[in-house]
């Protein structure tokens, strides 16, 4: 019983970590209709930048948590303005392919800057202890991740439901033409949302770095996982992403516990089953 309880804590922590990483991807897809395959690259860059900040320049994790997303937000801005904005007319598929190409490029840039060694970020001392629950020690940092995940979920929910921006965003989710008809600058909305997506990816990169590590090609592994979560939850649905993250966290944690040999298999199996039962994901709207 204790073991199951302990695994549940692991599952929730892991699930919310996935949520932190994926929610930016969901947001961008929901509003821009762009499946941003460079999302993982933003995540990776942020982790590397955070490493530079915590190891080379200052020792502050908190500073890294603030600065790295800013830098990546800037990269996202440049990408949106130079690459995506002039090409919205090419259609959604072309945009996916563009970000796919970007992911290839970013993959090679990172090792040039940071080398190809495995790196890691130290957890700030406040969060480096451990807590005992279910007769099992847990790192405090895992609970911090749970907290951050919940906070982001609430924040996104508030923004979406309580603010004017949220209204635009919700309108964008359902009808892009209407938004522009209302006289709202859709370009500005798109750029902002893409930056927010990048910032969220970057935030995920810093938060995840102490757990998942920093190493070459890390972004593809994370990207695939994020895509799985995105699709299970339903493209574009933040609530769906939250549910899917937790579901994937639970399935992956318990399959590692019960049947470690097939755990890799199970996540993709879960995705296939859900798509067959609910072709638009758990909470997704129909997207063509």
């Amino acid at each position: 019983m204790e073991l199951i309880g302990a695994q549940l804590v692991n599952a929730v922590a892991y699930g919310l970590l996935l949520f932190i990483i994926t929610c930016g991807l969901t947001l961008v897809f929901g509003i821009l209709g762009v499946l941003n395959l460079a999302h993982g690259s933003f995540y990776m860059f942020s982790a590397y930048i955070a490493y530079s900040i915590t190891e080379t320049y200052t020792q502050s994790f908190w500073l890294a948590l603030f600065v790295a997303p800013m830098v990546v937000g800037l990269i996202a801005l440049v990408v949106e303005i130079t690459l995506l904005r002039p090409t919205y007319h090419l259609g959604q598929l072309s945009q996916v392919l563009l970000t796919f190409g970007l992911a290839y490029i970013f993959n090679d840039i990172a090792p040039v800057i940071w080398g190809s060694d495995v790196l890691s970020i130290k957890v700030p001392s406040v969060l480096s202890g451990s807590v005992t629950i279910f007769e099992q020690k847990f790192p405090v940092y895992r609970f911090a991740v749970i907290g951050i995940g919940i906070a982001i979920a609430i924040l996104l929910w508030m923004v979406q439901n309580k603010t004017k921006w949220g209204a635009i965003i919700r309108a964008g989710l359902s009808d892009k033409e209407m938004v522009s008809a209302l006289g709202i600058n859709i370009k500005l909305v798109f750029t902002s949302v893409f930056i927010i997506g990048g910032v969220l990816a970057a935030f995920g990169g810093v938060v995840a770095a102490p757990i998942l590590g920093i190493y070459p090609s890390m972004e593809f592994q994370t990207l695939i996982l994020a895509l799985v979560v995105l699709v299970i939850g339903g493209l574009g649905s933040v609530a769906g992403t939250l549910v899917a993250s937790l579901l994937v966290g639970i399935v992956e944690t318990f399959s590692r516990f019960l049947a470690p040999e097939i755990s890799m298999f199970l996540i993709f199996g879960l995705m296939a089953v859900i798509l067959v039962l609910k072709p638009n994901g758990l909470l997704g709207k129909k997207v063509v």
């Binding site: 072309s94 190409g101 695939i224 995105l230 995705m271 296939a272 798509l275 997207v287």
Partner: protein, 324 residues
């Protein structure tokens, strides 16, 4: 029909001379281009002609390759047996995966194909006892056909060339056939095709299985070519690479994927001698094509030809007016 046969024979004779002209290294490069070209052509049925963008096509390549390898190792290294087995297993797999994937479209199709291919990848990666796992499947004997052993690169090249031409001819006919025209219709406007009375799901399904079968075929050739298979051939980056080949070459054309495969392999061979940042180069080239040449190399060729024609017309007109 006669002209097709004539064309095929011409190309066969021309390319058949390659071993006399090319060095062994370049011949191997050509073999690899042709194998990947078959692979790209098979994906093109889906991406280019039916409008279904798959990011999991490496699954079939891998299944074909591993089936050919395992059959050669354990049952028989007869070329027709192992190649036949590859195609059959690929068809069965495609039939199963297709049954799931046909229920979704667009991004979901892309993701579901990715999911299935990753499942197959993890199965291959973890079944160390059967597939050799991360070490790959090695020590695969040379293929044999009625006593003749395909023991060196030249012989393998001729199998590859033969299969390539056959594939090119068959797919070339299929896409021009009434069936192929329905696929093109689905790519352009599925709703309209349905309203016309076609059960588009069946057509898409058949296209999916067809693509899987030829994907498996190309995989089996890769096994004869290398005598070795690694799980990286089933990984999603392989699917990504072949998608890039199709799109750079020109999707929805027959020649495009072939040129795409050629450019990809040549570029990789040339570039890697100068820099380790191969992915940076291919990513940049890909982006340039997506933005500026969405119709790929074939598209560029067509525009150039149109331009030349216009020039010629102008030139002729000028000459005429002068003469007058």
């Amino acid at each position: 029909m006669k002209t097709i046969v004539f064309k095929l024979v011409t190309v066969f004779v021309l390319l058949g001379l390659a071993p006399l002209v090319l060095s062994l290294f370049h011949l191997n490069l050509l073999s690899e281009i042709l194998i990947l070209a078959i692979f790209a052509l098979s994906l093109n049925i889906l991406v280019g002609f039916t409008g279904l963008v798959s990011l999991g096509h490496a699954a079939f390549f891998g299944i074909g390759a591993y089936t050919a390898g395992l059959v050669s190792l354990n049952l028989s290294n007869n070329l027709l047996v192992s190649m036949g087995a590859s195609i059959i297993v690929s068809i069965i797999t495609a039939a199963i995966i297709g049954a799931f994937c046909m229920r979704v479209s667009g991004f979901y199709f892309l993701m579901l194909t990715l999911a299935f291919s990753q499942m197959i990848y993890s199965f291959i990666y973890q079944s160390t006892n059967i597939t050799g796992g991360s070490n790959g499947l090695s020590g695969i004997p040379n293929a044999v056909l009625s006593g003749f052993e395909f023991s060196n690169a030249v012989y393998v090249f001729y199998i590859v060339l033969l299969v390539f031409l056959a594939t090119y001819a068959i797919l070339g006919i299929i896409v021009k056939s009434p069936f192929g025209q329905v696929l093109i219709g689905i790519r352009e406007n599925e709703l309209r095709v349905k309203a016309t009375g076609y059960n588009t799901s069946v057509y898409k399904y058949v296209a999916f299985v067809l693509a899987g079968a030829f994907g498996g075929l190309s995989g089996s050739l890769y096994t004869y070519f290398n005598g070795f298979i690694a799980p990286s051939d089933v990984y999603w980056t392989m699917s990504g690479n072949v998608l890039i080949m199709v799109l750079i070459g020109g999707s929805g054309t027959m020649l495009g994927p072939v040129l795409g495969a050629a450019l990809f392999v040549i570029l990789e061979t040339v570039v890697s001698s100068y820099t380790d940042s191969w992915m940076l180069i291919v990513g940049s080239v890909f982006i340039i094509f997506v933005i500026f040449f969405p119709k790929g190399i074939v598209g560029i060729g067509q525009s150039l030809m149109r331009l030349a024609k216009k020039r010629k017309l102008k030139y002729d007109a000028k000459r005429k007016s002068k003469a007058a």
